[in-house]
């Protein structure tokens, strides 16, 4: 025993780098406890903003106020309403949340998973609010804010594949921003975009994240949508797009989250593989459910135009214009109508 002690005393001390307990022995445990508190604190804070009783606009407004710290005036400008109206909207949302009660105990695995899903949906709502606003300088920054919130969440829940998928999805969609509009502010479709303008930094990060998420082998809607965006991002030219892969991914999304909008998107991929007639057949059963949806009539008009059914195409485009959400969307459809008028000014079909 003495020999062992003596030998130990003669050994040089290890370097600082390999000593794990330079601080108080409890520091690491305290950090972990703090970390887990913070995770649930931030998740709770975000979760109260997406109470199911709150309409989407109130969820977004509350999150931007409470989590992001934007002023009421900033949020009001982004939503094109007066300060007083926005103040009222936020106050109402807070009152509703307070009335519903907030759980303060540490959530179990199932509750945490449900909260994460609700928060992810709310963050994606914020992103879409900015994305659909196009170049509107007040609302477009909502995309960056949504990505920032997703990064916070990802930093706290590093092994959640759906949060990786959500972040990747938004990064990949945002990477196309510099190519989405022309000098006049008109929409440029994905096929026609100058892909050299896409933001490589965001693409690299998004691709790395979706690859990492997929390795968890626990697919979810955000991962599939991110994989769709990644398939586009990997095509250096529009003609290199792997449409079969896109159709396959939309089919998976349809099974996981059936919705007429997903089927509509799949029809676009289907048209690339099987022609506009086959895609049109996919759209017909959706009309009742998507009768107020701009993109439905935009896609329908495109397919009809490709088939040379000009009168029907015009009717669909007219309907799309009446449903356009932004001036850029309306201008894009008007361009198709102008083309139809120029090509066949006197014919009715």
């Amino acid at each position: 025993m003495d020999d062992v002690r003596k030998a130990n005393k003669q050994e040089p001390l290890p370097s600082d780098e390999v000593i794990s307990d330079l601080d108080d022995a409890e520091a690491a445990l305290a950090d972990r406890l703090d970390g887990s508190h913070y995770r649930d604190d931030v998740l709770r804070l975000m979760f109260i903003c997406c109470h199911p009783d709150l309409p989407a606009t109130q969820q977004i407004a509350l999150a931007l106020r409470i989590v992001s710290g934007l002023s009421v005036a900033q949020i009001a400008r982004a939503f094109l309403v007066g300060d007083a109206a926005m103040e009222q909207r936020i106050t109402r949302a807070k009152a509703r949340v307070a009335k519903a009660g907030v759980a303060f105990e540490t959530p179990g695995v199932a509750e945490r998973s449900q909260s994460l899903a609700a928060v992810a949906a709310m963050i994606y709502l914020i992103f879409n609010e900015g994305y659909s606003a196009g170049q509107d300088e007040l609302r477009a920054p909502l995309c960056d804010e949504a990505i920032r919130l997703a990064r916070i969440l990802l930093n706290l829940f590093r092994t959640e594949p759906e949060i990786m998928g959500l972040t990747a999805l938004m990064l990949l969609q945002q990477s196309r921003l510099p190519a989405r509009f022309d000098a006049d502010g008109e929409v440029i479709l994905l096929d026609d975009q100058d892909r050299s303008k896409w933001d490589e930094r965001l693409i690299t990060e998004g691709l790395a994240l979706i690859d990492k998420a997929m390795r968890h082998n626990s697919p979810g809607p955000y991962q599939i949508q991110a994989a769709l965006a990644a398939t586009h991002a990997r095509a250096r030219r529009a003609q290199d797009t792997d449409w079969a892969q896109i159709d396959h991914l939309y089919a998976a999304l349809e099974r996981m989250q059936p919705s007429p909008v997903v089927t509509l998107n799949r029809a676009v991929a289907f048209a690339k593989l099987n022609g506009p007639e086959a895609a049109l057949a996919m759209l017909d059963p959706l009309e009742a459910k998507l009768s107020g949806y701009f993109h439905y009539f935009g896609a329908r008009g495109m397919f009809l135009m490709q088939l040379g059914r000009r009168a029907e195409a015009r009717t669909a485009f007219d309907r799309a214009i009446s449903l356009a959400n932004t001036p850029a969307e309306a201008a894009h459809i008007r361009r198709h109508l102008d083309r139809l008028a120029q090509e066949h000014p006197l014919t009715s079909s």
Binding site: Y38, D41, R44, I66, S68
Partner: protein
């Protein structure tokens, strides 16, 4: 980046965690917000007076 921009960025970055912890403590959104605003105003005042805090390197 001037001091004002720096403090704004620091507060924005700290807000979710700070507000989350304050909400756990107060269990009331308005009181948590109020406490955060007070702390933010105090910190902004210190930065305006003493400049940005220096990271300890010793």
């Amino acid at each position: 980046m001037n001091d004002l921009e720096w403090i704004e960025a620091a507060l924005t970055a700290a807000r979710p965690q700070a507000m989350g912890a304050l909400l756990r403590y107060f269990r009331d959104l308005d009181r948590a917000e109020e406490a955060f605003q007070e702390a933010a105003a105090a910190r902004s005042g210190r930065v305006a007076h003493f400049g940005r805090p220096q990271r300890c390197i010793g």
